[in-house]
Amino acid sequence: MNRTGAKRKNILLMQGNEAIVEGALAAGCRFFAGYPITPASEISEGMSIRLPQMDGTFIQMEDEIASIGAVIGASLAGVKSMTATSGPGFSLMQENIGFACMAEVPCVIVNVMRGGPSTGLPTHPSQGDVMQARWGTHGDHPIIVLAVSTVRDSFEITVEAFNLSEKYRVPVIILSDEAVAHTRETVTMPSPEEIKIIDRIKPEMPPEWYIPYEVTSTGVPPMAVFGEGYPYHITGLSHDVRGFPTQRPDETDELIRRLYRKITQGFHEIQKIKSFMMGDAEIAVIAYGSVTRSARQAVLDVRQLGIRAGLLQLVTLFPFPRESVETVLNQCRAVLVPEMNLGQISREVKRVNQKDTRVTTYNRVDGQLITPEEIYSQLIQMK
């Protein structure tokens, strides 16, 4: 990929942020609104070149609040939309992310994590925003959070993020980090036919029969596009099945529970994991994001010593892949959760640990990567 965007070969050298741009475009994203922030700015820059080439729209908004607002608006007008930011901007977006949850507007939000809190370490990686991605906006809400660990991942998971967002009408958060974002790797790009694309379901009934927030068996109602003959009302207020504000306890309860149910019913396809050498593993690493790469090497290295170690990579962080983690906890004597924070996913692992499997944590919050050697020495101590 060169800067003008012309594709020449199928094997390309690109950085994680560029792969997210390409993944989004492949998934059908045609609207991007963003605000400059390190280490996510390359996503905006890439979009500003590529989108107008395909009749899409890029706009740099006045802040991150405006960016996510515009993204939601564009999605309501029927266009797949995305924004990208880092910690400080992600905090600003939270209110409108809640709007997208409540009004069920598909959209993708990329958070390239850097050290925090506050302005923190703008040019260093971190995994400190995991719980914010899950619980950043107020109120009980379902959300999908995916983590990328390689450049290839950045492409594929971005496509997946759009698919899940469209299918479940829910905002999807992609957590990358400064290391993945700025690492350059070769990626064999899939051909368009190899990429599975899901679009939201639109209403097909006569407009007078359309009930915008109808309780369906999947929990996901068909979504009308502005200007296609199905005018309806959209609000962040608690609303009835027709979309109008309500304060009735029965209608409110039904709405909030349906928002959860639509995700719960999709656990089987939303919760994605990758297993590495888990077949005969007695001890395991549970990791996500760039830490996975070090963990993989460490597992290979300790196996040289005859230690039966394995790796469970969490691609989906939320809804938390409880079943897969429980399987590992049941199978293994001890589990290591290395993270570039002071223990966010390890809490989830401990929460679902029904046996007395030992859960060890290894944490770094100094803006530096967790190395294979560090995980290696942790695993040696666990044997």
Binding site: D55, A66, G73, I234
Partner: protein, 279 residues
Amino acid sequence: MPEEITRLTHKYLRHDKKFPHIWCPGCGNGIVLGSLIRAIDRSGLHKDDVVLVSGIGCSGRMTVYADFNTLHTTHGRALTFATGIKLAKNSLHVIVIMGDGDATAIGGNHFIHAARRNMDLTAIIINNQIYGMTGGQQSPTTPYGSMTTTTPYGHIENAFSISELAMVAGASFVGRGTVFHVQLLDSLIERAIQKKGFSVVEILSNCHVQFGRRNKMGSPVKMMKWFQEHAVTMQKAKQMNTEDLEGNVTIGVLTDSDKPSYLEKYQLVQEQAKASLKK
């Protein structure tokens, strides 16, 4: 005339679903809603091509009552959602209803930048100089010295002029009216809807419950009379000196220019980008 009102009511309001409304008796919001649907009717727009976007506050409820594509957004952010809608599907006419707090306090940044970009939107701002829904707190347009629930000793800040703010920020059309001068309001909104680029109509309205009551301005009728007595048309204002204008408010078209809108310019960007691919 009654038949005309019935026709408009049936055509443009969710009259059999969402009424009675929540606005206080005598509120100016209903007058603005009336003007808005008359202006849309006169403009000949198809209902399904109109998106009405609102923020939070009493004015935000307007989207519930009007039968278009309607979007009730978060506080202050209506213009950002509207920007996304317009850019994603530019055949839609996107009209944004805001209050003074919504548009110029929490949403002030979005307001000046939408104007600066000359984004193809129509912003209708109902300025009642107070936060009505939350119980009468001071807003950016509350006059100096006023009593509100958060300025119990009198307001010590100066007020924004919404129209002048929009003009200097770059809006292509700015008009100001009041809920008393309804025919002027109809025509201002109609012209704003038809204008390319960012068009603003500021409407002075009465909140007799939260503002008038605490500032001894009397009933809705008395507040309307204040608008009648203190509004000066642009033509008349030109012949008056600054001292005579003091304490009055000018109404009419404040600016109307034909500069290129954001969409027109972005379409050129798209053409340029596509041409770069062919090379």
